[in-house]
């Protein structure tokens, strides 16, 4: 680690001496980055201040779109749609993040420290990834026949006499949305955490147990801090995906649960691009703030 810091410092002082070649080396990438990322983003920002009618977007500078998004949000009696939607999205985000983190960490821990043979390890890791060979829409939709009113779960429950009438909240509910999210995105936690864990020097764990640390103490004081990078990277994946999702919420929630992504999608399909752009700008700033906060916890660049 020390050497990497040193070399980074070296590079910086090289730069200050006027050696610009690293800049030239990354120019091609910068061009791609500017053309396909920065420019479209600026366009979105610009359009969010435009006006629109049924079929045109009209160049303008107006806060109308932002105002209409927060229309009624000062009303204290009932929460406005935007706040309500963000609140529900945050709830999903937190639940899914916590669940995927717990499941992902446990699985990665098992793979990294309990499986001794490298072959078995690779095989089990491959098994984790197999579901990802199919499209995520298919994986999502396959829950429907299972959870439906006449689905397998309900049939089993009724036949075993546990319930009299089918359980309704299994499908098209918050539960089914969260279930699908966890199923879809736990992998994004497993991979980076597993990767971090594999780089932990095994002798550190031996040293911990030699010093009398219990299993839990080892996990909490040695493994967790050392896999922090993986945890943060996994969290960034899961949080950004869930915050912007509209397909899973739509399909599993029976289109009855709002998400910001869904609102943006409806707006674009009704040609209300400036409104959609304004919503996108707000969503983007919120997600960026969350990621910024996460990266404060660990210097990812240094750790990688």
């Amino acid at each position: 680690m020390n050497t990497s810091i040193q070399s980074a410092g070296q590079a910086q002082s090289d730069l200050s001496k006027g050696q610009v070649s690293p800049f030239w080396q990354i120019t091609p990438f910068n061009c791609v980055f500017i053309l396909f990322f920065i420019v479209p983003l600026l366009l979105i920002l610009m359009v969010s201040f435009w006006d629109f009618n049924e079929y045109e977007i009209l160049p303008d500078f107006t806060f109308k779109n932002y105002l209409s998004i927060f229309d009624g949000c000062l009303n204290t009696q009932e929460m406005c749609v935007t706040l309500k939607t963000y609140l529900s999205t945050f709830k999903f985000c937190f639940t899914v993040w916590l669940s995927t983190l717990l499941i992902g960490f446990t699985l990665a821990y098992y793979l990294a420290f309990h499986i001794q043979s490298a072959v078995v390890q690779t095989a089990l890791f491959a098994i984790c990834t197999i579901p990802f060979w199919t499209s995520n829409v298919i994986r999502m939709i396959s829950w429907i026949p299972l959870l439906g009113r006449n689905g397998l779960v309900n049939k089993a429950l009724i036949e075993s006499g546990l319930v009299q009438a089918p359980v309704e909240w299994l499908l098209f509910s918050n539960f089914s949305v969260i279930l699908a999210f966890i199923h879809l995105y736990t992998m994004f936690m497993i991979v980076p955490i597993f990767n971090s864990m594999m780089r932990i020097d095994k002798s550190l764990i031996e040293a911990a147990s030699d010093s009398g640390a219990s299993k839990w103490q080892t996990i909490w004081n040695v493994i967790v801090p050392l896999s922090k990078t993986g945890i943060i990277i996994g969290s960034i994946f899961v949080i950004t995906i869930v915050m912007g999702d509209f397909v899973t919420v739509g399909v599993m929630g029976g289109q009855q649960i709002a998400s910001i992504g869904k609102i943006i999608q409806v707006e674009t399909s009704y040609l209300q691009f400036p409104l959609a752009a304004a919503n996108a700008v707000i969503l983007l700033s919120i997600v960026l703030m969350m990621i910024w906060a996460l990266t404060r916890m660990v210097d990812i660049r240094k750790e990688l």
């Binding site: 629109f52 009855q256 209300q272």
Partner: protein, 435 residues
């Protein structure tokens, strides 16, 4: 494109048009033609190439059999581009050169025509234009005027000219869309699970069906279903359901939100197939539905009825439009397709799915008389009625839901609509989804 309308050298104009398609900039145009030259595609060779028409529409109308039959008859290939109802409009407005033929609903014309992206279709080039049913040209069925609330086709079917951004008040030579299919929609029900007669739109929000109802999540159509329900429940009588004021929109959406909060809806649906699955799986027993979806549920052997209701039907109509930039052989090909479509084979095919075709006479000549009697005259089937794919849709002796063409189309109460307050409506609709 005025600069490429000369048809002397079809081929070159085609190439230029393709270039225009990407962008109207001169640079792109030059690049495009340079590309054609570079690949050595000389006009003579290009001219013999087959025409491929990119047909933009929703999956419901894009039947493989129709494309295959047309190709067999004329050698022109149809390439289906299937997107959702909303996306058809979006592409017509934002990417008008990404298709050669558009199949869209009449209500979306209010958004598309003002952009100038559609070309008025010259009815002189349409052989059966004068035989198009009076429902479209005059708003009449069997001489009787039907409901006009909403975007009734007769309000938007005629354009002032070939290049026009405005609708004509009276019939002209140029049509915005040549009608393809249309129907009168109502609620679909599962009689085996409901076990009692359903006669009113109000039943959609009847607490008896709590957690077993669904409404479609396409604002322009869903709002009309909701309005039918509001009127049927006796909450409010709209002066014009198809053009609500902000207050009326608030009221309608509030009714939906209250029902949703009480747990009335099992799901909302956006895609035709979703509605089929909801109904077939028994998740839902009463919902907004489209005729071919009912047919699809029935062909699985499940009892499903497209229930006629005393308040009448919510009608819709779709038609073919041509992008303004279409020219040369592709334009001729598109006209040929439209003419072929009205010529009977396709009409008969659609009628057998429970739709109605634009020119009834030609379709009749391509149907068996017992089929015509069942589908169009509301008579009991004298033989088993088969779908175009050969599934049994109705057994001998059964009668079509809603009866004859005159009964069904004559019972239109309103049309799918784009309102003046459409932006507000969509915003409120989002509130309903979020509630």
């Amino acid at each position: 494109m005025s600069d490429s309308s000369s048809t002397k050298k079809n081929v070159l104009t085609d190439a230029l048009d393709l270039a225009n398609a990407a962008s109207m900039q001169r640079r792109t145009l030059l690049k495009g033609s340079a590309g054609v030259l570079a690949t050595g595609m000389f006009p003579a060779i290009h001219a013999q190439e087959k025409i491929v028409l990119r047909y933009l529409g929703t999956a419901v109308n894009q039947d493989k059999a129709i494309g295959d039959k047309f190709k067999a008859d004329t050698g022109i290939e149809i390439q289906y581009v299937a997107v959702t109802t909303d996306d058809v409009t979006k592409r017509a407005v934002t990417a008008p050169n990404s298709f050669d033929l558009i199949d869209t609903e009449y209500f979306s014309l209010k958004k598309i025509v003002p952009t100038g992206n559609l070309k008025g279709i010259d009815t002189k080039k349409i052989k059966n234009a004068d035989k198009i049913t009076t429902l479209f040209t005059e708003g009449k069925v069997g001489g009787k005027t039907v409901g006009e609330q909403g975007t009734a086709p007769k309000k938007v079917i005629f354009l002032e000219g070939e290049k026009s951004k405005a609708f004509a008040k009276s019939p002209t030579q140029f049509m915005s869309l040549i009608p393809t299919v249309y129907n009168a929609d109502t609620l679909g029900i599962r009689p085996d699970l409901i076990k009692r007669p359903i006669t009113s739109w109000a039943e959609l929000l009847n607490p008896e069906f709590k957690g077993k109802a669904a409404i479609l999540n396409i604002p322009s159509i869903g709002i009309m279903d909701a309005a039918m329900v509001v009127e049927a429940m006796g909450i409010y009588k709209y002066p014009d359901k198809g053009n609500m004021t902000k207050k009326e929109i608030d009221l309608t959406i509030k009714t939906l939100i209250d029902a949703k909060k009480a747990g009335q809806f099992r799901s909302l649906w956006k895609d035709f197939n979703e509605s089929v699955n909801l109904m077939a799986s028994g998740e839902v027993v009463i919902q907004s539905m489209w005729s071919p979806a009912v047919t699809a549920v029935r062909s699985k052997g499940i009892d499903c009825v497209f229930q006629p209701l005393k308040e009448g039907y919510r009608a819709w109509a779709a038609g073919f439009g041509l992008p303004a930039t279409l020219s040369g052989r592709k334009l001729d090909g598109a006209y040929e397709f439209i003419n072929w479509f009205l010529d009977g084979w396709a009409g008969a095919y659609l009628n057998r799915q429970g739709y109605y075709s634009a020119v009834l006479d030609t379709a009749k000549s391509k149907m068996e008389s017992y089929e015509w009697a069942y589908w169009m005259e509301g008579k009991a089937a004298t033989k088993d009625i088969l779908s175009p794919h050969g599934d049994v849709l109705a057994k001998t002796g059964s009668v079509r839901d809603g009866g004859s063409y005159e009964n069904r189309m004559g019972g239109i109460a309103c049309w799918n609509a784009v309102m003046d307050e459409n932006n507000y409506m969509v915003q409120k609709w989002n509130e309903f989804v979020a509630a």
